[in-house]
């Protein structure tokens, strides 16, 4: 298996570094952290020190440089070598939380929020989904009413990755009228009176990363924490989605690849009826089908990345890549469990965890159905 077509020598070197980091810092604790539903906060500065937290972000704001292609291969190698999807996605929650600040925030906001995150000093989260609705962003109900130098925020958010520990939350709020035009992005900091983590949610997969329900009750947020202009939130959210979907597609490629590697290793070692599992044609063909679907998902995701870097932001193609990759990932992880038999159903086996982790992807970052709506609209039917 080779990487993406867009990879150059520097991507391969970056993979080696990410691999070394994840093998040393994550893999030995992967099972423990997943079972504990938390990884140590100290891992953020460790990752920043290794130069990996800021990959894909400008050095101007404390990043390590590079673009989305670098960020994706580094994250992929973290999954492959670290073997804890929950830890990697928890460490990566800034991938959706800080781009709106980089894109539209003031220099002061970038200094206060972006740099400390990329240095591993602050944890960030993005909050859009509400208990009353997720996909229907335009109807979100969390209100932010202007009162002098503050916005008074009331409402709640749910399914917020890293929300339990976040030092600030990039939050979508309604500052204006109904529908798209009334939405703004506001940075709400931990400790602001009225902002509480109402629940730590228990999930199917991604255990090592925390997921929160957040509550805002007469929460007074300084006007200086508004990102961009009032009413610019919807567009910001939509722009964020393209890169988020590519990133989710690439996580699926990494998870599929890891499940595949575990399956290949298991089939060469496990014996049944006097030969290894790999001695059975039906097993070899199953592995071949897994490899094929992974290659197809990787190819489409890679093409999307190349087009994106060429300046072509295609929401429908990103949606296609996400659906292709999530379908592949769900199927490959299911097959991996089947290959492992009874062991595949046991929590101590990596594939059991990957099978659960895989279930997130057709839901998070826009459901499979929403992806198809985007594709339908662009296709014109």
């Amino acid at each position: 298996m080779s990487g993406y077509l867009f990879e150059r020598e520097e991507h391969k070197e970056l993979r080696r570094q990410a691999q070394r980091f994840a093998a040393a810092e994550i893999a030995p604790h992967a099972h423990e952290w997943e079972e504990a539903c938390e990884f140590p906060r100290a891992l953020y500065p460790r990752m920043a020190e290794a130069g990996l937290l800021g990959v894909g972000y400008s050095e101007e704001y404390g990043g390590a440089g590079g673009d989305i292609s670098h960020a994706l291969v580094a994250a992929e190698e973290m999954v492959l070598a670290g073997k804890s999807v929950g830890t990697v996605v928890g460490l990566g929650s800034h991938g959706i939380a800080i781009p709106p600040i980089i894109r539209l925030g003031s220099e002061d906001q970038k200094a206060r929020f972006v740099r400390p995150v990329l240095e591993g000093r602050l944890i960030s989260a993005l909050a859009i989904t509400e208990p009353g609705g997720g996909s229907d962003v335009a109807r979100l109900r969390t209100k932010a009413e202007r009162d002098g130098d503050h916005y008074v925020v009331n409402g709640s958010k749910t399914f917020i990755t890293s929300g339990c520990r976040a030092d600030f939350v990039t939050t979508a709020v309604r500052t204006g009228g109904e529908r798209h035009g009334g939405i703004s992005m506001l940075v709400i900091e931990r400790g602001t009176p009225g902002f509480t983590v109402s629940r730590k949610l228990e999930k199917t997969g991604w255990w090592a990363s925390d997921t929160a329900e957040l509550s805002f009750q007469d929460c007074r947020v300084p006007v200086g924490n508004l990102i961009g202009d009032e009413g610019s939130g919807f567009l910001t959210i939509m722009m964020n989605f393209v890169t988020e979907r590519l990133s989710l597609a690439s996580q699926c490629v990494a998870i599929g690849e890891l499940a595949y590697r575990e399956s290949v290793a298991y089939s060469t070692q496990r014996e049944a009826f006097g030969r290894t599992l790999g001695g059975f044609q039906v097993l070899r063909h199953k592995l071949a089908d897994m490899a094929t679907r992974i290659a197809a998902a990787r190819a489409l995701t890679g093409e999307c990345v190349i087009r994106f870097l060429d300046g072509e932001e295609s929401p429908s193609m990103a949606a296609m890549a996400k659906n292709t990759a999530t379908d592949m990932c769900s199927w490959v992880c299911d097959q991996a469990v089947q290959i492992h038999g009874g062991y595949g159903y046991m929590r101590e086996y990596v594939v059991e965890r990957l099978y659960r982790d895989a279930r997130l992807y057709p839901i998070g970052g826009g459901t499979r159905e929403i992806m198809n709506e985007i594709i339908s609209k662009v296709e014109g039917y």
């Binding site: 070197e13 970056l14 050095e59 390590a64 590079g66």
Partner: protein, 250 residues
């Protein structure tokens, strides 16, 4: 000050190693290659010396296949200033030492740092042989390095049986790095990008006028015998009996 440091291309220690079909080497297909971990420690130490001294240059050298460029780029990405690749095939430790001597003579470094051994063949010879051929002092298996203020000598702490030994060597000297010397840094993305533009000189081993005819020929290679499953015994008495009558070690 100039520091010359080595970077051998070796299989990733995490790789599964299989003997090849002709039985005289390992199956190389599908193996990931990395910088010898002890060399990585050597590179880190060279960089620390450079950072402490300010005006030092770090030159990283690899001797082996042309693919070892990758390992040199890793060294450059970590922060080395330039690289030299000596290409050649079927080079044993003696040949590598003789080639390294030629490079040292050409570069005249103040310190040569190598890993104490490479993790592929575990020979633990190149550093010592090179020092001997150069007629240089050597400090092997070091876990601490201090350069004297006047840069005329280096104080090296060596790990020896049952303790530590501290010796002082006049410079130039050759040093081999042990595991606890330091924890190598990660190459950052800006470092990786810069590495692409740093000079990498390629030299063919044959052009150095060194006799590289191998003194060691590998006749056969075999995996270690598979370990048989153990057995849990009920009591100390049963264990003693088994050790006496079955294992015959008591």
């Amino acid at each position: 000050m100039k520091i010359l440091v080595t970077a051998k291309r070796v299989p990733d220690p995490e790789s599964t190693i299989k003997v090849n079909s002709s039985g005289d080497g390992i199956e190389e297909a599908g193996i990931k290659w990395v910088v010898n971990p002890f060399d990585e420690i050597a590179i880190e130490e060279a960089l620390r010396v450079k950072e402490a001294q300010g005006d030092a240059e770090v030159v990283v050298v690899s001797i082996g296949p042309s693919e070892a460029q990758e390992q040199l780029r890793t060294g450059l990405a970590m922060g080395a200033d330039r690289a030299i690749l000596v290409t050649g095939e079927n080079l044993d430790t003696s040949a590598v030492a003789k080639i390294l001597v030629k490079i040292v003579e050409k570069e005249s470094p103040d310190i040569v740092i190598t890993g104490k051994q490479a993790i592929d063949d575990d020979s633990n010879e190149v550093g010592q042989m090179t020092a001997q051929l150069l007629g240089w002092p050597q400090a092997t298996f070091i876990s601490e390095l201090k350069i004297a203020d006047d840069k005329s000598s280096a104080e090296c702490t060596r790990e020896v049986d049952g303790g530590m030994e501290t010796i002082s060597v006049p410079l130039p000297a050759l040093i081999t790095a042990d595991l606890r010397l330091n924890e190598p840094r990660y190459a950052s993305l800006p470092g990786i990008m810069k590495a692409r533009k740093k000079p990498l000189e390629q030299i063919e081993a044959a052009s150095l006028g060194v006799d590289t005819t191998p003194k060691i020929v590998i006749k056969s290679m075999a995996p270690p015998p598979a370990r048989e499953a153990g057995r849990i015994v009920e009591s100390v008495d049963e264990l003693v009996t088994a050790l006496q009558s079955e294992a015959k070690v008591l």
